[in-house]
């Protein structure tokens, strides 16, 4: 797997930031620069994994808290 393949896997949500750093030998700031070079960016919120429901519940709860705190 090349560095660019690893960056694409991260941007598409198929691997974690930690895995990407391990595979590429880059630190996180370099990962961000690499994403930009490939015209990609940080992956969107993921709610479809094994913990997807719990993560969505957390996001909804925190959003409600922030709305109320305004």
């Amino acid at each position: 797997m090349t560095i660019d393949d690893a960056l694409r896997a991260y941007a598409s949500g198929h691997s974690s930031a930690k895995e990407t750093k391990e595979r590429t030998g880059l630190d996180y700031a370099q990962v961000l620069d690499g994403l930009g070079r490939l015209n990609l960016r940080v992956p969107p919120p993921a709610f479809d994994g094994p913990d997807g429901d719990a993560l969505r519940e957390s996001a909804d709860r925190f959003t409600a808290f922030l709305k109320q705190a305004r």
Binding site: Y28, G36, R37, V42, R61, F62, A64, F65, K67
Partner: protein, 219 residues
């Protein structure tokens, strides 16, 4: 209504926001922000521009942003003094800070901001909600604190995009050398017929007008 008491950050989300030039969006939400010591060492690295930016931001906003000492941070310190690069201790330090806070504030919740929230198993205290940078920013957007989470995420990788564009601009088109010779022969090198952008004529190490957007030293 959930009663959040704290936001704890790992290094990657801070680096993302620093690169986007948007650390200040964190101050728009009402909760105190804790940066564990091991996270601080990783994120506020003075060798890099975004690290300096994080360091200055924490110093400037001490009323809202605090660092916290941890056992993981102490361990990291010892390893560093012995020349061992200690990675991933930021995560352990963040968990330590979270557990300590919840022991003292059992009725509160904590928002823990990691880059890898989406793939992390939730084995922790049910009072801890874990967010990736993207999901945290989308919650901020949903709460009406920022206009566009996507815009900030886009800005975070803009530096790398600018570098790629700069490289593309400095890469001559096939046959460009021959074309330049032809032009020079016709014009006597006066450049009168030369319509190529000025940036193409600069030596590669000379900054071009857009190069300032790359935020200087990168990690």
């Amino acid at each position: 209504m959930a009663d959040y008491g704290l936001i704890v950050f790992d290094a990657s989300p801070l680096i993302t926001l620093a690169k986007a030039g948007e650390l200040d969006v964190l101050l728009r939400q009402p909760l105190p922000i804790i940066i564990p010591d091991a996270v601080y060492r990783e994120a506020a690295n003075p060798s890099y521009d975004d690290g300096v930016r994080i360091m200055e931001w924490i110093e400037t906003n001490q009323a809202r942003v605090r660092t916290a000492n941890t056992r993981a941070g102490l361990q990291q310190d010892i390893l560093l003094k012995n020349g061992v690069r200690a990675t991933d201790l930021g995560e352990a330090a963040a968990i330590e800070v979270t557990d300590r806070f919840l022991a003292d504030n059992p009725d509160n919740r904590v928002a823990l901001i990691y880059e890898d929230a989406g793939v992390r198993k939730r084995e922790r205290d049910p009072r801890v909600d874990i967010f990736s940078t993207a999901s945290f920013l989308h919650a901020m957007e949903g709460g009406g604190y920022i206009q566009s989470a996507d815009q900030i995420l886009e800005q975070a990788s803009q530096a790398g995009r600018n570098v790629a564009e700069q490289k593309a601009m400095h890469t001559p088109e096939p046959g460009a050398g021959l074309l330049a010779q032809f032009r020079n022969a016709r014009t006597g090198s006066t450049g009168l017929l030369d319509t190529t952008p000025n940036s193409l004529h600069k030596p590669p190490d000379e900054p071009s007008p857009t190069q300032g957007q790359t935020r200087g030293r990168s990690r």
